[in-house]
């Protein structure tokens, strides 16, 4: 599993500086909730 592919999936451009800090955490959460759907469409 490739972290860069995950980041690309949620819309984080390559080259963005990411660290284990609050700014990065919230940046990833905002990106994720905009890019990835909560869904149960398998059912």
């Amino acid at each position: 599993m490739d972290l860069d592919l995950f980041l690309e999936r949620i819309g984080i451009p390559q080259g963005v500086s990411l660290g284990a800090n609050r700014t990065t955490l919230d940046q990833l959460m905002v990106a994720h909730t905009n890019a990835v759907t909560f869904e149960n469409l398998n059912q």
Binding site: L3, R9, R22, L28, H32, T33, T37, N40, L41, N42
Partner: protein, 226 residues
């Protein structure tokens, strides 16, 4: 449609990243936890129960959430319908995250409650700070996909954030929830539903048409045929 989802990270990665699908809490929070750990975060999985009444029996397994410890413990959750947009302290308090007020409170029976509210009844889940592992959710993942009473079997849903709006599809009802108002549309045709899934959620799933009769039947059960 009878396809099963698993708690295997490889399966989840393929579904979400390679196939551009979404998922439910077990999938989205598992994958998000993996990504955070790759970046050096300290992450714990926690277990919750959605929609519990205070004092009611506890079944802490139908929701997965995350704890991240930085300068303070934080609640992180990308699997509760996308309502929470940023981390919040794991301490009693409320934040505005438009369109929602999101909060953590301590209940009289000792559990913590996450709540998000804009109008009407808030959406909530209760949880403790006892860390768990992925396998803790094995039974719940199976049951929620097979129990005829499971909300995940009874009602199709797709939810995503778009800036300060929450786009919520439940069955045939599509709501765009904003801070000032909620716009609502009831889909009358398969084409409307498929277009919504494609344009609002980026999901190209023509096979959803196969369950259109079930969706109609469920809608009529809930709202009548008028």
């Amino acid at each position: 449609m009878g396809r099963r989802v698993t708690l295997s990270l490889e399966d989840i990665f393929k579904k979400v990243v390679e196939d551009h699908r979404g998922g439910w809490c077990f999938e989205l929070n598992s994958l998000f936890a993996w990504a955070l750990e790759q970046l050096g975060f300290e992450v714990q999985m926690l277990a919750g129960q959605v929609g519990r009444q205070e004092g009611a029996p506890v079944f802490l397994a139908n929701h997965m959430l995350l704890r991240v410890d930085l300068d303070e413990p934080l609640l992180v959750d990308v699997g509760f319908g996308c309502g929470l947009a940023r981390s919040i302290p794991l301490l009693p308090g409320t934040q505005m995250q438009p369109p929602y007020d999101v909060s953590v409170s301590e209940l009289s029976d000792g559990y913590l409650r996450y709540s998000e509210h804009v109008r009407g009844e808030p959406a909530t889940y209760d949880f403790t700070l006892e860390p768990v592992t992925t396998s803790y959710f094995d039974d719940a993942c199976e049951r929620l996909q097979t129990d005829p009473e499971s909300p995940f079997l009874r009602t199709l849903t797709a939810q995503r954030r778009e800036s300060h709006q929450h786009l919520v599809l439940r069955g045939l009802v599509w709501r765009v929830i904003g801070q000032e108002r909620t716009e609502e549309q009831v889909f009358a045709s398969q084409e409307q539903l498929l277009t919504c899934l494609n344009e609002a959620y980026g999901l190209d799933m023509p096979e959803i048409a196969d369950i259109w009769p079930d969706l109609l039947r469920r809608h009529e059960e809930l709202f009548g045929s008028g």
